[in-house]
Structure formats: C-alpha cells, structure tokens
C-alpha cells in the first residue's frame, strides 16, 4: 500500500539520514540543456534500508552522485544527517559502484585498508581491522591476491568490505550486484543483509530489479521516467531477518510486487527504448 506523499515534519527531517528537497540536476546549457533528474523530494530516516527503483535512464545514478557530493545540484538542496552536502567531504558516506572500483595494483587487504589509512589510522591498526572485515565477507585466505585474480563475486565482497570497514552511517549502492550471475547475486544479497544487520546504518540501494528491492528494503521509492521524480513510496513490512530466496515465496511479497509493478510499468512504458 502506497505511502501518502505528505510533507514531513521538520523535526523528523533534521534528524533524517537523507533529506532531499527539490533536488535537480541538469546537464549542458542554453537550448540544449537536459534535465537528468528532479525535482526530487524525499526523506530517509536513519537506520533504514531504502530501495530506489525506476526505469532505465531515469537518473537513479545521478541521484546518488548528488547525494554523495560527487555532483553539485542544479537546483534544490540535500542534507545528510542535517548537514548540507558540499562536495564529497566531510560526509561520512560510503558508495558501492556497479562497476569494479578496486585499485588493481593493490592486494585485497591493501584495498580494504585504504579508507582507514586515508582517515588517519595507523598501519597496524588498519591492517587488523581490514583483516577482520576480509574474514567477515568470507575472503579469508585470499587477502594477498590482486583483483585481477578474483572472480566477480569475490571482487564485490572486497568492495563491500572496503566500504563498510570505516562504518559510514550512510551507504549508497548503485546496482552493485547487477553484473553478477543469479546465484552469486542471491548470495551477495543475503550477505549484505547480514552485514547491515551487524553494522547498522542507513542504506540507499538503487536497482532496476523490483524483486531485489522488495526482498532487501524497508521502504521503496519508485521513480518516474526521465527526468526522474519521486512517483510513489511504498513501505515494505516484511519481517526480518530475511532470506532473499525464501522471502519471494511469501504471499505478502507477491502482493507488494503486484502493487508496485503497476506503478513501475507505467514509467517503463513511458521510457523510450535505448538506441
């Protein structure tokens, strides 16, 4: 059942992990100017796992770039834990990209250590904590390997370890498992849920796969076709802990899916096919 898009009280907004208002991003200028996304308005309370779904090209990635500070908004504003976003620093944000973002000349361990070193941790302290996380993501024994020597799934685990090792209160994920095969993807989704249960924090998970979103999230934002705006917000009252394969067999899952699919399909239909 949809959530009403009523204005959120300012107290709630101030405490929210993400508070976006009228967020817009355009590219180009003059008559050729293209609005990639927005105006987008939504609030994400701290500690929630929020899925963002929408048709291809609606600007989901651009939205994440705006939230992380990689891009500056053309209009509107966004605040992370009450602080307006101004460039990439000083926010405590983690980002897991769809494509590989591991430094190919560093070993698994060195990659996971990197964010800690950048934050001023000592080398031995960083190594200890990195090793802990390498074990947590199930890569014990391969910490001396280079990314080129790992499978796609293993590289994704390193990416997760790299991001979570410094415990960012907000983690942005841009279709992180899209490039994996179905079995690996299911396994990674379950692992993500258990890691998140352990570390807490807020997660914004962008995906084009509605099933994946429902299986993972507490709440789902459905975006319109490009330029993307918030079309609807659906709470996902499925119990935790979840197993992503098992949860799909439940009646409530299917009901939710049917409701959301109506909304999403209209937007997908409204999107012209890619050339």
């Amino acid at each position: 059942m949809r959530e009403a898009l009523a204005p959120v009280p300012s107290a709630v907004r101030a405490a929210a992990a993400v508070d976006a208002e009228g967020l817009t991003r355009c590219f180009g200028s003059g008559p050729d100017q293209l609005r990639a996304v927005g105006p987008v308005t939504f609030t994400v309370p701290a500690g929630e796992f929020v899925g963002i779904v929408g048709p291809s090209g609606c600007g989901k990635s651009t939205l994440l770039h705006l939230l992380s500070g990689l891009l500056r908004p053309s209009g509107g504003q966004v605040r992370i834990f009450g602080q307006p976003v101004q460039g990439v620093r000083p926010h405590q944000v983690g980002y897991v990209f769809q494509r590989d973002a591991l430094l190919p000349w560093k070993t698994v361990l060195d990659n996971v250590m990197l964010p800690l070193l950048l934050r001023g941790h000592g080398a031995s302290d960083a190594r200890l904590r990195a090793l802990e996380w390498v074990h947590k993501v199930g890569l014990a024994g391969v910490e001396r390997r280079y990314p080129s020597q790992l499978s796609g799934g293993m590289r994704k685990r390193v990416a997760l370890a790299m991001t979570m090792v410094y415990r960012p209160p907000l983690i942005l994920m841009d279709e992180p498992f899209a490039a994996l095969d179905v079995q690996t993807r299911n396994r990674m989704e379950n692992e993500l849920l258990s890691l998140w249960a352990e570390t807490g924090g807020t997660v914004l998970f962008v995906t084009h796969d509605l099933e994946e979103a429902i299986a993972l999230a507490d709440r789902i934002i459905v975006m319109t076709a490009a330029p993307g705006r918030v079309k609807a917000v659906y709470p996902v009252p499925l119990p935790r802990p979840r197993d992503v394969a098992e949860i799909r067999t439940r009646g409530e899952f299917t009901a939710l899916y049917r409701q959301m699919w109506e909304d999403l399909r209209d937007e997908v239909d409204a999107t012209p096919p890619r050339a």
Partner: protein, 260 residues
C-alpha cells in the same frame, strides 16, 4: 610433443643459418673472395674483442656510454613523468606543455645533437642531454595517457573513501603511471642507449660510439665490427633483462586464477 619438436627443428635451422653464414664469411676471407682489409673475418673480430677485454681498453669506454645512458634515462623519466602528471592534473599546464612536447616528438631528437654539443661541449653532458630529450618526451606522453585512462569510477571511489589530492596522487595516479612507465621502460632504455651511442658518433671523446667512429676513420673494419657486435649484444641483453623485470613488476595485471 609436436610443438617442441617443431621448435627444435626451426631453432637448429636458424642456428645453422647463422653459423653457416659466419663460416662462409671466414672461409671467403681466407680464400680471398673479398678484400680482407675491407671486410675482415670473424676470427679477427673475435681477436679484437678479446684483446679489448684483456687489455682493459674497453672498460672506460663502456662505462662512459652506460653512464650517459643511465643518467639520461633517470633524468628523462623524472622530467617526463613529472611533466606528464602536471600536464594531466593541473589545469593550464597541459595547454602550455603539450604543444612543446608534440613538436619535439615530431622531430627525430638526434638532429638536436649539434645544438646540444654547441651548448654543452663534447663531454658526457651533451649525450645525457640528448638522451633526456628522447626519454622525457616518451614518458611525458605515456604518463598523460596513463592519467587520462584511469577509470573514472576508481577516481570517484577513492574520493569517497576520503582521499586528499596528495593521497589521490600516491594511491591512484602514481601507481597507474608506474604501470605505463614500467611497460614502456624497455623502449625508454633501448632508445636511451642508442641515443648515447649515436651522440658519441656525432662527437665525443670517450664511449663505445667514439671507439667505433675512430675505428672507422682509421679503416679498421675488425674493430668497427667488434664495437658494433658488442653494442648490439649489449642492447639485446638489456632488452631481454628488462622484459623479465617488467613481468614481475606488473604481476597484478596477470589474470592468474579465478576463484569460485
């Protein structure tokens, strides 16, 4: 099995070809088929080489050439990489540096030797300068290419992890540059060595190139060939050695195994 046998056959045929050519040459020289004072013979070349080594004549000249090569290489790589990093990362610098480097690149640098000799004399400095002009331009362009082809996703990720510009350089751009520099090191070294020798041809007081030119002026074919054989052997050995080293430096590029 068939593969190794084929390699053996081909290899021995090649060996036979080279050995046969040498034998023919020696025979022809002794039989007077061609003038010995112009073409000499393998045995004589070997004798000259042996004499050079035993008498100690060779070492100072070898040292001079290698000195020029190594010094020019070191300075050239530092200037080329440094310039490339500045050009690719600092706005404005590229606009200034790139046209200069492109113009330099379009001209075979050896033709600059006369002006360098005018400025720096016939000592080692002019050779080093020549090698620097060769090596720095090559490394400038490889560095610029290395920085420009760094995956933007990587840059975004490292930024998000909290890297300052210095950290970006240290963890991202320098390692990326090193990959390209190491890969082109073979070329750099080869060009450096040849540059030093040709510079010595064009005016020097020491060095293998100088020895060869002197021998040419004094009409000693055996000495010319001995010098050339030495130079080519050295160039080949350096190239092979570097090939092995590069493989080790760039181990992280190898896709050895894929886990489950």
């Amino acid at each position: 099995m068939a593969g190794t046998r084929e390699t053996l056959v081909v290899g021995s045929l090649q060996g036979a070809l080279v050995a046969g050519a040498l034998a023919l040459w020696e025979l022809g020289a002794r039989r007077g088929w061609f003038p010995q004072d112009l073409v000499s013979r393998p045995a004589e070349v070997g004798r000259v080489l042996g004499q050079w080594i035993i008498s100690g004549f060779l070492w100072p000249h070898l040292a001079a050439t290698l000195e020029a090569t190594v010094a020019g290489l070191a300075v050239g790589v530092v200037l080329g990489v440094g310039g490339g990093l500045l050009a690719a990362l600092v706005p404005g610098v590229g606009t200034f540096l790139e046209p200069l480097m492109s113009t330099l690149n379009a001209t075979p640098r050896v033709v600059f030797y006369p002006i360098l000799a005018l400025w720096l004399g016939l000592g080692i400095a002019s050779k080093v300068a020549l090698v620097v002009t060769i090596v720095s331009v090559l490394n400038f362009f490889t560095t610029v290419a290395a920085v420009r082809t760094v995956d933007r996703t990587l840059v975004a990720q490292v930024l998000i992890l909290g890297a300052s510009p210095g950290a970006m350089l240290r963890h991202l751009y320098l390692p990326a540059t090193w990959a390209w520099t190491a890969a082109s090191l073979r070329t750099s070294v080869g060009l450096a060595f040849v540059g030093a020798v040709v510079g010595e041809y064009m005016g020097a007081l020491r060095g293998i190139g100088h020895v060869i030119i002197e021998a040419q002026h004094l009409f000693h074919p055996a000495q010319v060939m001995a010098g050339l054989a030495l130079t080519l052997a050295l160039a080949g050995a350096i190239d092979a050695g570097l090939g092995r080293l590069a493989g080790r430096w760039l181990a992280w590029q190898r896709e050895d195994l894929h886990g489950a």
